[in-house]
């Protein structure tokens, strides 16, 4: 084996595309995951002239998925003008789906297994799957197994009125019964993150995103969909006063100490994103731009079930490990893209990195990772303003950061995405 092994080569981010993100039950309420992912892919194909090309692979996923969408990504690819010979597969890692899809494709490129790929994700909470109740499901399964009338009637007789109520998917953690926001409320309080600090971060997100639109930053990152050409959650005219007037939405059990509102938390959002990756040779042969190298990525998970860590604190661990592997410090970055699931998530993570005790006891570090230059954080806005269609956020972050790095012409960027189940994926991109 060893004498045929290829050296590891760079995987480059060529560009990205997403549809504008839209608040749940809004303009995309009739669109399915497949519709939206196909649109995001179509826009990417159009931007880079990939029509008829057989790519090495397309990996994406959705957090909330209908069972009929078992092959969501492949079905979407078949609906685009990519070659029908392009293989595709579904990935699911909650809100880190997009990052995991993109990272694993980058690895394949690095190993020389494939030359080109599209990674991304999609989610809709407007067209979410509704399941029948467990009672009805059990009856229906027995009914389909029954071979004669008598057991069929017997099965049917077991249906109770309450079984007819459908089950909508919740965003609660199955093992704790707490919603993600209620989990973050615990972490936010533990790190003593103030309401004001959270509202300020939310305001900055809106202002930065609005400014990015203003300077046409998204012209080659977004393709409109269903009559929407801008993220509908964006409130360019938001003010700190307006944010301060909102009532707590999460951690309400904390009473007066509750700090998390609809303003400093991401709303349920629909949307899709896609990122084109390739080897350097692929990009050169097809006259495609090379925005950034996808240098490395790392996943981590924490035990939130038994309270050892906050649900969304896994990136704190992942970054520490990734920095060590790459011999970098937390300050060696020109841009930080920290997914704003909640303002409290970003601020808790930053606080943890800067906390000697956390870094020593939890991360096993002699010295804390330290603070970051906040002017380099989410400079073109993030999820609080743009919204967060779970699996689609990774693609948004990678494409945005790659473009920022390419515009700057040098430097390095850090991506951090937390996910349900106490997980997180982080990544390093380098300008080119």
């Amino acid at each position: 084996m060893s004498d045929t092994q290829q050296p590891i080569r760079p995987a480059v981010v060529i560009g990205g595309n997403r549809i504008p993100f839209a608040r749940s039950n809004g303009p995309y309420s009739k669109a399915s995951n497949q519709d939206m992912l196909t649109a995001a892919l179509d826009g990417l194909v159009a931007r880079f002239g990939l029509q008829g090309q057989r790519l090495g692979g397309v990996a994406a996923g959705a957090v909330l998925k209908h069972s009929k969408d078992f092959n969501l990504v492949r079905e979407s690819v078949l609906g685009t003008s990519l070659s029908a010979q392009t293989p595709a597969y579904d990935v699911q890692m909650a809100c880190a789906t997009g990052m995991e899809a993109i990272g694993s494709l980058a690895n394949k490129i690095k190993l020389g297994q494939i030359d080109s790929a599209i990674g991304g994700g999609v989610d809709t909470t407007s067209d979410a799957p509704i399941a029948v109740s467990e009672g009805l499901r059990s009856v229906l399964m027995d009914l389909s197994r029954a071979r004669s009338t008598s057991p069929k009637l017997k099965a049917i007789s077991r249906i109770r009125p309450r079984d007819l109520a459908p089950n909508a998917p919740g965003t609660g953690e199955p093992r704790t019964g707490l919603s993600m926001g209620d989990h973050q409320a615990i972490t936010t309080k533990a790190w003593k993150i103030s309401r004001e600090a959270q509202d300020e971060l939310a305001l900055a997100s809106h202002k930065n995103l609005a400014a990015a639109y203003e300077r046409n930053f998204f012209d080659d990152l977004i393709t409109p969909f269903a009559g929407v050409s801008k993220d509908t959650n964006l409130r360019a005219d938001s003010t700190i006063e307006k944010l301060a007037s909102l009532k707590p939405a999460f951690g309400k059990n904390l009473g007066a100490e509750a700090t998390m509102t609809a303003g400093n938390s991401t709303p349920l959002t629909d949307g899709a994103s896609a990122v084109l990756l390739g080897s350097e040779d692929y990009a050169r042969e097809h006259d495609l731009p090379m925005l950034a190298n996808f240098v490395d990525f790392e996943a981590a998970a924490v035990d939130f079930v038994h309270g050892a860590d906050g649900l969304l604190m896994a990136p704190a661990y992942a970054v520490a490990r990734m920095l060590k592997r790459n011999n970098l410090t937390l300050q060696d970055f020109d841009f930080y893209e920290i997914h704003e699931a909640f303002a409290g998530t970003v601020l808790s993570t930053l606080a943890a990195w800067d906390d000697p005790e956390f870094c020593k006891n939890k991360l096993g570090l002699e010295a804390p990772l330290g603070a970051i230059d906040r002017s380099k954080l989410n400079v073109n806005g993030s999820s609080l303003a743009a919204g967060h269609p779970f699996a689609a956020t990774g693609g948004r972050l990678v494409a945005t950061l790659a473009k920022m790095l390419h515009e700057k012409g040098s430097g390095r960027g850090l991506i951090s995405v937390c996910a349900a189940g106490g997980q997180g994926v982080v990544a390093i991109l380098e300008a080119r």
């Binding site: 826009g43 159009a46 880079f48 002239g49 977004i222 393709t223 409109p224 050409s229």
Partner: protein, 445 residues
Amino acid sequence: MADKYLELVNSGLTKKLATSLGLPRPSILRRYAPGEALLPGPVLLLGDSSSAQQLADTLLGWGLDVRRHAVGVNRLGGIVLMLDELEAPAELSAPMLAAGAALRQLAPGGRVVSLSREALDTDAPAVAAVRQGIDGAMRSVGRELRGGATANGIVLGHGVSPSAPSALAALHFFFSGRSAYVDGQFLSVDSADGTLPADFSQPLAGKVAVVTGAARGIGAAIAQTLHRDGATVVVVDVPGAGDALAKVANKVSGTALQVDVTRPDAGAKIIEHAVARHGSLDIVIHNAGITRDKLLANMDARRWDSVIAVNISSQLAMNEAFLAAELPGLRIVSLASTSGIAGNRGQTNYAASKGGVIGMVRASAASFAAAGGGINAVAPGFIETEMTAKIPVATRTVARMLMPSLMQGGLPVDVAEAIGFLASDAAAGINGRTLRVCGQSLVGA
């Protein structure tokens, strides 16, 4: 979109009914499809020009059946009038009457094309008279033809031979279904520049073309036509139209560039995209345009200024960027409008911008020629688009039947075909000109 009226008056019982009732009966136009014959029958070559034999040889080379008189021909595909050597009005009689005698044999979708010389202020009065007279005569022929047949002319500049590449290319264009909705028009050939394509079905092979406003309507048709003719197409539109734009890009296997053409760096963005992604920039079609109609008495600055900014100022700014980039052989075709020639009620702003395009191409011709390229305009008349589909049915029917000789509105593809022709290298001898694609509308003659 199927035109019900056009369909009805051209089929079976309703056709008979329409004829007996004397209803206007617009014809189904002969439009280009790859592989179809250049003309629907033999071509009659009239006139005593010394270039006649050379031209006949060329036409034979195009696979046409060339006749010098109409005797024994039941069905003519086209008539070419070689009028380039006439010296006085009296000399027009013989060729015109010969053409007239052959008109009844002209097949539906047939073509009458004249070749003449430009009337100059320095010409002898008699020479100028006959040359200018040809203009009136040919336009009148256009008005008399039926069955989707058209009459157009080629006007040779001083010292330009009838066998100049662009003259031949113009003739080929007028013969072809590509000129279906061009009627009663003259194309001026100013130089012997240009090269005929090796393959007339792929006149844009190897070219990189940018089409602005390509998300829908005429722009989308232009992108498809240029792609069909061999070009690699970059489609451009405002970011807000990106979804429709992506569909067009994917249809033509091109690339989509979302940029607002009124941005100061639009020209630079276009050059950067075309050169970086496709290796060159050979053709630009300035199609992006908007209407903000209002009677002048009710016009506000927002309406006026936005139309001027998009329809003409942006083109001026982009052209400067293109010239500064010294792109070799860059050919530009800009969208004017018959409103810019004859005016239109409620469209003072639009007409100013479109008239402006005509002036711009004339005044930019020399600069682009200096870099081996050229710039021309196409002025569409009534074209059936999503926009015109919103006009009430009765008004629309009247507009499309009563105004043009061809008694119908054109299709986006008709405009696209004219643009494709002017964008080709074969049209390099045509520069600073505006070609109307209006079915010989009354508007602007």
